[in-house]
Symmetry: C2
Subunit: 358 residues, 2 copies
């Protein structure tokens, strides 16, 4: 069975040996700090390292137990039940869930190959102005799309004109296999963007070490909310990450991961070109995912339900679409599959698609 | 300056050497699991260890990043804004904050030397039935009070008659320095009690490894809420705790902690008897705290505000009282002070109290 489901790092992506060395060193040196009660904003040396890397003040860096929980903080601190949030459509299913469970109305703006459709964004703004626009501008989950510089600037203009904040979720940004990095939306507009990121995709997800770079006016209440939620985040894993970063291992690891994942993406693209002629797919420049729009004549729901008969497992595309649809959308993660599995998986997918052509 | 403020473990209470040994062993053996994405309920071997220790099914154990966050889960899943929760008065200030920020009305039931005043509890029930009663039955924070068996049974009867749940917060339970352990409220009524606990006080707070034992009917939604909040809790620290427990080190460590803390409590009690004759205090049987009720003629607010002039730092007692009051309440943690500091601190406190006698 070949799993085209969760976006996990490959097993060989985790630098376990280096992590153990770092844990040993930092637990010996800083154990009395890391295993004791600490500060609600997180382990100070790591906050400072992040602040320096991103060129912000440490006060604007809040560490947390994974970055995803900050979406609950956003909903609690910036929104009332019934308020509107815009997301890309499709978007990260867990982000949609986190917003919805707080009673927030989630509106999807259709995504194109280079970011959201700006005309439809403007039309949606005529109907209701959101408190925030949540997006994943680099190698989006689930689509693989990267928002173009032109559209980043347009989004910033709209945020300024209409007065909403932007939540920029950026876990894949450092895994670019082609082309040149674009400025983040935070860099274009530091005072209205919450830039969320983590070490899950570039070091280890099990550690759940995430962080958010906050606008100055929102920072104090976010730090307080962290304290009132769990006193402070888990410290020993933050200590390990700090040691890893301070030793200069992170950038090396990112290069290693690119060398690991790039051929997987290329293999999937060439298998798609070979086996799925005529099917539309998004060609990403990095990250974990390629996505496909099945032709209208394919019964996507049956394909998803019965894909195991063909030796593959797919994610139900509908979870990524806040306003319905998605039966014809396939997210294909390539990160945790070998090139051989990818080639074989796409061959099986082609067979399954042919079977469900009406 | 002698700090009678936060309830931290003593520095020498943290078994750093053993923690490092356990980290090394478990990261080498289970690194590929602990540093990868995991299960939303927590690291399975530790869940199973806890389930066995408490005699419950693993499905009823939910692990989390500290136990405190479960109070937010309780508010989100069991209450609507405007609903009522009963707490002891005084109660843990962070618990009061966590409930209140969710829009829940917090009503305090006055606490006596052996638990809440049952008559006043019944009167409060005539006015409004809470969704939950939150209490800390063993060595309560902040008072040091342990709820008697008779009152535990009475509370269970009232919960059954009026149909509310009980949240039993139990971080100090294993630190008993005198007398015999009483049954937990969960043991008296397994199906309507959420038993919250953690390894913060018996191993390490920096790791933030907490857990809740859930009633069967509530367990599925709590597990789902965990997933939708942070996908899964931090795993490497749960791996360390599991290794520590499986090696049989936890019970040894608890005995070591009792031997460390018992003389501190005794020292504080004898210093109180010596220096604060005529002042009422609660004599605890374990935990971290002794508490004092200042005589009415002492200006408690000025004492708290100017205590630094006498070389001590005190916590403002008002934060522990949900319905006002607390100016005459002092919480005195003894866990992180040496017997010498305790004796000197109480001597200074006596001087300060005399100064603010009207």
């Amino acid at each position: 069975m070949i799993l085209f489901t969760r976006g996990n790092p490959a097993e060989e992506a985790l630098p376990i040996g280096d992590i153990i060395d770092c844990a040993n060193a930092v637990f010996r040196r800083e154990g009395k700090i890391l295993f004791q009660y600490g500060h609600y904003s997180g382990y100070a040396p790591l906050r400072e390292w992040i602040a320096q890397r991103f060129g912000v003040l440490p006060e604007r860096v809040l560490m947390g137990n994974s970055s995803m929980e900050f979406l609950s903080f956003v909903a609690a601190l910036m929104m009332k039940p019934g308020d509107t949030v815009f997301v890309e459509s499709p978007s990260y299913d867990r982000a949609i869930t986190a917003m919805r469970r707080s009673g927030v109305r989630v509106v999807g703006i259709p995504l194109e190959r280079d970011g959201v459709n700006v005309d439809l964004f403007k039309k949606a703004l005529q109907r209701s102005v959101p408190k925030i626009f949540y997006l994943i501008p680099d190698f989006q989950n689930p689509s693989g799309v990267t928002t173009s510089l032109e559209k980043r600037k347009e989004i910033v203009r709209l945020a300024q004109d209409y007065g909403f904040y932007i939540v920029e979720d950026s876990p894949y940004r450092y895994l670019r296999y082609r082309g040149t990095a674009l400025p983040t939306i935070r860099e274009l507009m530091p005072d209205r963007v919450l830039h969320i990121s983590s070490f899950s995709k570039i070091l280890s997800p099990g550690m759940r070490v995430g962080f958010v770079l906050l606008p100055a006016d929102l920072a104090p209440q976010f730090h307080k909310w962290s304290e009132d939620t769990y006193i402070h985040p888990v410290l020993p894993t933050e200590g390990i990450v700090n040691e890893y970063c301070r030793r200069g291992l992170l950038d090396q690891n990112i290069e290693r991961l690119k060398a690991l994942y790039r051929p997987r993406m290329e293999e999937m693209l060439s298998a798609l070109a070979q086996y799925l002629r005529g099917v539309q797919y998004i060609e990403p420049d990095g990250g974990y995912f390629i996505s496909i729009h099945l032709p209208g004549e394919v019964d996507g729901h049956s394909l998803w339900k019965h894909c195991r008969d063909f030796g593959i497992v797919l994610t139900d595309g509908r979870g990524f679409f806040p306003d319905g649809g998605g039966e014809h959308f396939l997210r294909l993660p390539f990160s945790a599959l070998t090139p051989e599995e990818i080639e074989e998986g796409i061959r099986r997918l082609a067979k399954a698609i042919d079977h469900y052509r009406r």
